[in-house]
Amino acid sequence: MRDDLLQRRSEGLYCPAGDFFIDPRWPVERAVVTHAHGDHARIGNAGYHVAAAGAALMRQRLGEDAVIETHDYGAAFVLGDVRVSMHPSGHMLGAAQIRMEHDGRVVVVSGDYKREADPTCEPFEPVPCDVFVTESTFGWPVYRWPPMDDVIADLLAWWDDCARRGVPALLFCYALGKAQRLLAELALRCPDRVAHLHGALLQPVQHYRDAGITLLPTAPLEEKVGGGAMAGELVMAPPSAANSPWMRRFVTASTAFASGWMQVRGNRRRRGFDRGFVVSDHADWPGLLRSVADSGASRIYVTHGDGDVLTRHLRELGHDAMALDALGEA
């Protein structure tokens, strides 16, 4: 199947008419990057196009020498024969959907997205199109995100309980995006409290503050500080720290993980955390269906892991949906 706006190549998703790649896996001439997470923004490309809102995060990841062109949300620019624009995806600060227009035909690649409100970034913008490429990280109907108010109330109750028991409240979450979203939500509810941060969270938190986003006051966790000094305190760390020597000082801590996967009890128990808070920066099942409907697209491509379930369900709803893999490799 030929498509002048969309091809799969070994380097990643390719737009022939514009001669650029979206979130390429391997170095290419021209990359349009949806957001600053490591599996999307990779170093080594000759040139980058990114959303202006995420410029500082991209610079941090891609290095001082990277050639980066930034674009305001909604502002069109031309690559080859294609009119390109970037639109908020609601995934994290600076995250974008990529809209491509050529010969009156519009393709939108969603990147990662969510439909819930997030104080750290612009909300998802539905972009009408002919072809919509959607992620499907949580492509099962068991994923339906609880209201953030409920989650934060649970989280605060857990923190208070830790304080009563005199143990640290050790919260694991992704260092970029999730951590700042939680800190922003907490700042709305208990602005006088302080969170202590693992080293990996410090720089991303500073970038968000620099972007003018209000976060809970934070303090870096001292290198040598023992778990005892953190009794009753909230400590935030990336999941990778959970199995590292860094954990040794926190043997008494109550541990929690903030992730959409915590919706399922088996995941929670297998990971061995005491608590799981269901917070995701990806779309839940209703969010996926709603976004497909909002796009008005006549063709849907589903990316990400095990998209079979979503694809089949969309087909039964009458959409012309298929796995992105079905696009074939050029």
Partner: protein, 531 residues
């Protein structure tokens, strides 16, 4: 339901045994006694009679959500637990029934559900779902379909009851044994001061359980301080005779009445009252040997065995301990005294009641030699019991050891994988292994355990990227990986395609050093099964 759901959440949220015990004890203190009695029952592993089938639950969920059957099934496979998958799929309820006490559900509402005809049952189930929160719906579904599985052992429930009642755990364990019924009055009885004759109530004694011997046998000290017996491979049971009436209790504390009439009549004919601890074995009278466990299985399932089955597969009770004699609780007496009395009492009784013989070997090396005969004797190895020890409650290390023989092993190739359940939900952890038969690998064993978390993760990733075909939840995979499996016994079987049945297979290690041509051959396994 609200209070019990909160307790469940507390238990689910901690791995600490201490915290769990505290949570249960607090619940027992605060909850209405009728609710607390049910909590004790279900947390201790008790189940209701099945009131709705899993198919009915799926159908009700399908109707309530409008999702296609396949989507419900895909969600179940992804979550690994039907009760949970259904709770997550349904639109959240309004929690208007959240304050209905647990005992009303358990005593009245759920049993009534079982009496409805199927369409009305689905309607009722859906009405409840609309009136419960996600967590409460999950619990309701769990109570309807089986055990709770929240990492609470029977022992932990006993400890929490002991903390709540301020009574010794052994006493509480005994009071809870047998078919304890979850009512407020029964809960109150658990906390009453002990009396001298309460052991004579209609309850089995809590079983004393042996631990596996992992250290060198010489570290146990003098051979003369220990009783050595065969480790019988049958059903552990207490044979009780009181006032001339016989009763048989399994180790799961279920009554086996009617299943083994020859044992009941032999017990009824005894010239004394008492409680014997021992093993039910299918017996080969000509060979003076037990028969394989599979022979006994024919008897276990039969509530009222016919004359032919009784004649073809007779059973015997191999007694190894005497817990009570003519109304006297002997459990605190040393084992050698209990044994002597048991031997005396069994001197001239029905041959269906036998005394488990003491092995004569006088030193450890000689005993180790004897242990080599275990398989030929149709036993699993040896039991070592300290001669001066009392009969304890539960699994207490130190006085009773099981010294099993090494398992059999075979090398087999991974050919199918299936998603796991519970803690392994979403991971390919249920494996089928094959051995060679005329150039093909034929399935011979399924195994779920034996790999560590890192190996499981590696294998899961590999399976996803090396799938050949999918059959619903099962994937066939490229034939590459060889595993060494341990198993306890192998028998001929017409029910298995391979012609052999492998008992209790589990993974010993991942044999990355072997190629698939090194896997075992079915012919060799068949030959083993013939012996």
């Amino acid at each position: 339901m609200r209070r019990f759901a909160a307790l469940y959440a507390q238990l689910d949220r901690t791995a600490s045994t201490l915290a769990k015990r505290e949570a249960i004890a607090t619940y027992l203190h605060d909850a209405p006694p009728a609710d607390a009695a049910w909590a004790v029952y279900v947390l201790g592993g008790g189940k209701l009679r099945r009131l709705a089938t899993t198919t009915e639950m799926r159908t009700a969920a399908q109707q309530a959500t409008g999702f296609a059957d396949w989507l419900i099934d895909a969600s179940y496979q992804h979550v690994g637990d039907l009760a949970e998958a259904v709770a997550l799929l349904l639109p959240p309820g309004d929690a208007s029934l959240a304050d209905t006490p647990l005992h009303v559900w358990m005593d009245d509402w759920l049993p009534a559900l079982g009496k409805l005809d199927p369409p009305a049952r689905l309607t009722q189930l859906q009405a409840w779902w609309q009136a419960l929160s996600v967590e409460q719906t999950f619990l309701l579904n769990k109570l309807l379909t089986g055990a709770l599985r929240v990492g609470v052992s029977r022992r932990l429930v006993v400890q929490a009851l002991a903390q709540w009642s301020q009574l010794p755990t052994d006493l509480v364990a005994h009071r809870l044994s047998g078919d304890w019924q979850p009512h407020a009055a029964a809960l109150a009885t658990l906390a009453e001061p002990p009396t001298d004759d309460e052991h004579l109530s209609d309850r089995p004694y809590p079983f004393f359980l042996a631990s596996p011997l992992e250290q060198a046998v010489e570290t146990l000290g003098e051979r003369a301080e220990w009783l050595a017996e065969w480790k019988w491979d049958g059903i552990r049971a207490q044979l009780m005779r009181r006032g001339g009436e016989a009763r048989l209790w399994s180790r799961g504390e279920e009554r086996l009445d009617g299943r083994f009439p020859e044992l009941e009549s032999a017990a009824a004919a005894l010239p004394f009252d008492g409680v014997l601890d021992g093993e039910i074995l299918a017996w080969n009278a000509a060979g003076h040997l037990p028969r394989a466990f599979t022979a006994l299985q024919k008897r276990i399932g039969k509530l009222k065995p016919g004359a032919k089955l009784l004649a073809d597969t007779p059973v015997r009770f191999m007694a190894y301990d005497l817990l009570e004699h003519d109304g006297e609780d002997l459990r605190q007496q040393p084992l050698h005294a209990r044994r002597e009395r048991l031997a005396d009492l069994l001197r001239e009784v029905s041959p269906a009641l036998m005394l488990s013989p003491a092995l004569p070997a006088t030193d450890w090396p000689a005993l180790a030699d004897e242990r080599e005969q275990s398989r030929a004797r149709q036993t699993e190895g040896l039991m070592l019991k300290k001669l001066d020890s009392p009969y304890r409650v539960g699994r207490k290390r130190g006085d009773w050891w099981k010294w099993k023989v090494e398992p059999y092993t075979l090398d087999a190739v991974l050919i199918y994988a299936q998603l796991g359940h519970g803690r392994r939900a979403g991971l390919y952890t249920d494996y089928t292994f094959g051995v060679w038969d005329r150039g093909h690998l034929v399935p011979v064993a399924k195994a779920y355990s034996g790999l560590d978390d890192a190996e499981i993760a590696t294998l899961d990733q590999w399976i996803r990227s090396h799938t050949l075909e999918r059959f619903g939840p099962v994937r066939s995979v490229e034939q590459v990986h060889v595993f060494e499996l341990a198993y306890e016994a192998i028998q001929r079987s017409s029910r298995h395609k391979s012609g052999v049945a492998v008992r209790f297979p589990r993974i010993l290690r991942w044999r990355t050093d072997l190629a698939i041509r090194d896997a075992d051959k079915l012919d060799d396994l068949r030959r083993l099964a013939m012996d």
